[in-house]
Symmetry: C2
Subunit: 378 residues, 2 copies
């Protein structure tokens, strides 16, 4: 990661100050005495820069009461001081040396805590060592606390998601305007990755190009298959721009669409549009899923819609809230997530349409702007 | 990651079969009844492909006795079947649906286990849920078991490390042959990343370019500082080629070296060479560290050598064995690691020399081939 990409998400020190304060307050509300935040999107959200997740423990300790402490390997200290900027004045830095035991240092810092929250993606090796060192404190997931903050996007965050979406749209428009038959999926995928960066992403994240029977595999890896006439192609692309993610899918058909595929696609398009339309504060995530699943099921494709309708998006491609049957959580203004139903007929073909939608008081706002019509390509 | 990069490390199915069997045997030896291996280098080492680490649990379950089970989200199943190739015949695939609870499925599969090993980088959210679900089983780190396999490189693995090292050397030779003054660190760093790929890496991992006072920060991020005459520059670069990592550092000086810096560098070079020379089976990792630290300390720079001497390398840039004072483990033939002492004078300058060394029965073999003399650049 370049310096620019690593610190692109740094906002004014006051914003990070406020986020840390809110994290402490949310922890207190859950009777969590301290949060242990290892390098991750949570860490970057709070501190404004990405630290590497390494075998050497770096850990931001946010107590429910008191000042935050950043425990880090001594050789990471200069970089951290530089990356933190003004924020460094309100965080107590504790550098540790190569022969120190950082777990003991955590133990000392959180001594007396009854419940300690571990960052969701903290490595199990640290979680298990902390389990032993912090006994009898209860260890819980810090996810709900951090997600309480991160799931509601500020207007500035929505702007960043929109900019990322538009960059992905530009790449998508280019790719579905090109001749695809005769090229391998892998070739097209590499080209998409270049386009994602050329259109303003700091990094290309993924570029699924699934053609012919491969389009029936939702997470297909672009491979050596040569695209040919009569193929359905699912193109699912995304990257990161200024710390925020894009993720959009469109489906193309090489040549005149097979009527059976066109019929399937019409059902999918109706389902995706209806699910987007259903977005508004107070509607449960499960209901959005239900709207899409209902239309697809009624048309007889229920068994072929093998994944949830969507996932939250922000600093991570997948985050809360998940648009899945089991999630009764009501949507709120500021939630941002994908709406991406798909229909997959194994060994034959598949289709998916994916937009990022932000819930606003006025309903759902689609951040993606490309047409959802079936793209006819050569 | 492209398909090619993702599966570049797939070897003959018999190799992966044998690795899984050895993992089971190593687990049994440690009284671990089952290993839970989530997507990670360990997962790729066993199965020959990288699966994404996601909020949806993918987990290879290797029981000490019995057949391995691969639990995975249903939408990842086609990709896994494709990536596993022949190996799929000896692994029981258990796909789970969006509304299933994968933790319950793990619970069922490992029922009756007394000790269960968690992959080192497994996300804490899964570790904590497993902790609750598998109670009263003891959860332990799978790291020692997996590392027992991975720390000894096969001849084929050493070949891959050598090919990666040579690719990094080619990039290093190019960069220290160029005019560097007048360019920003970030510019040079971007160029190095391009060179790493051009010379055969699948991905560029990092390209530290730390100039002037920044060279005193071991993990400095290349930034907007313009390189100028009289600067020391630490260049530390690496990437991944066919699943294995490169990592090499050289130090350059812009223009005629300051005599004080030249003296410091001569000490460093002697220390690095002596540490490489000391490598042979039976010597403790700590002794290698001690050799380098002794020479640097005797010359009066002890306080300025602020990190360990090295780290193991393989499918990860940092892995076992660590060349650090606290590690009494004896070296064995097949261990591969960096030897990279450094001397850092805060706010002034720093230097580091890093080679990858493989321990063989005949002593240490350096995989890097560029000169360790101080590079004089314009």
């Amino acid at each position: 990661m370049t310096t620019a990409a690593r610190t692109a998400l740094r906002l004014d020190a006051s914003v990070h100050h406020e986020r840390i304060q809110r994290a402490a307050a949310e922890a207190a509300e859950r009777s969590v005495d301290a949060l242990l935040i290892t390098p991750s999107p949570d860490y970057a959200y709070l501190l404004g820069y990405h630290a590497p997740a390494l075998e050497r423990l770096t850990c931001l300790i946010v107590p429910a009461e008191g000042d935050p402490v950043l425990l880090l390997p001594r050789l990471e200290e200069p970089l951290a001081r530089h990356a933190l900027g003004e924020l460094v004045e309100e965080i107590h830095l504790v550098p540790w040396d190569e022969t120190d035991d950082p777990i003991r240092l955590v133990q000392t810092i959180v001594a007396g805590s009854l419940r300690v929250g571990l960052q969701d993606q903290m490595w199990a090796r640290f979680a298990l060592r902390l389990r032993a060192a912090l006994d009898p404190a209860e260890l819980v997931e810090a996810g709900p606390t951090m997600s309480a903050l991160r799931r509601i996007k500020s207007p500035e965050e929505v702007d960043r998601l929109r900019a990322a979406a538009l960059a992905a749209d530009a790449a998508m428009r280019t790719i579905i305007g090109e001749r695809l038959s005769g090229r391998t999926e892998a070739d097209v995928s590499r080209h998409v990755r270049d386009l994602l960066v050329a259109e303003g992403h700091d990094t290309a994240g993924f570029a699924i190009v699934a053609s012919g029977p491969n389009s029936a595999s939702p997470h297909h890896e672009a491979g050596e298959r040569v695209i040919e006439s009569g193929d359905a192609i699912v193109i699912d692309i995304g990257g990161t721009r200024a710390g925020y993610c894009s993720d959009t899918s469109r489906t193309a058909f090489v040549g005149a669409p097979d009527p059976e595929f066109a019929a399937l696609y019409a059902v999918l398009r109706e389902a995706q549009a209806a699910a987007c339309e259903a977005v508004r504060p107070g509607v449960a995530c499960s209901e959005i899923d239900d709207v899409a699943r209902g239309i697809i099921g009624e048309a007889g494709y229920g068994e072929a819609f093998i994944h949830r309708t969507g996932h939250g998006i922000g600093m991570e491609t997948h985050e809360e809230p998940y648009i899945v049957a089991s999630n009764q959580e009501p949507l709120r203004a500021g939630h941002a997530f994908s709406v991406e139903p798909g229909i997959y007929i194994r060994d034959r073909w598949g289709a998916r349409i994916e937009d990022i939608v932000v819930c606003t008081d006025a309903g759902g706002e689609r951040l993606n702007t490309t047409s959802t019509e079936l793209a006819i390509v050569e």
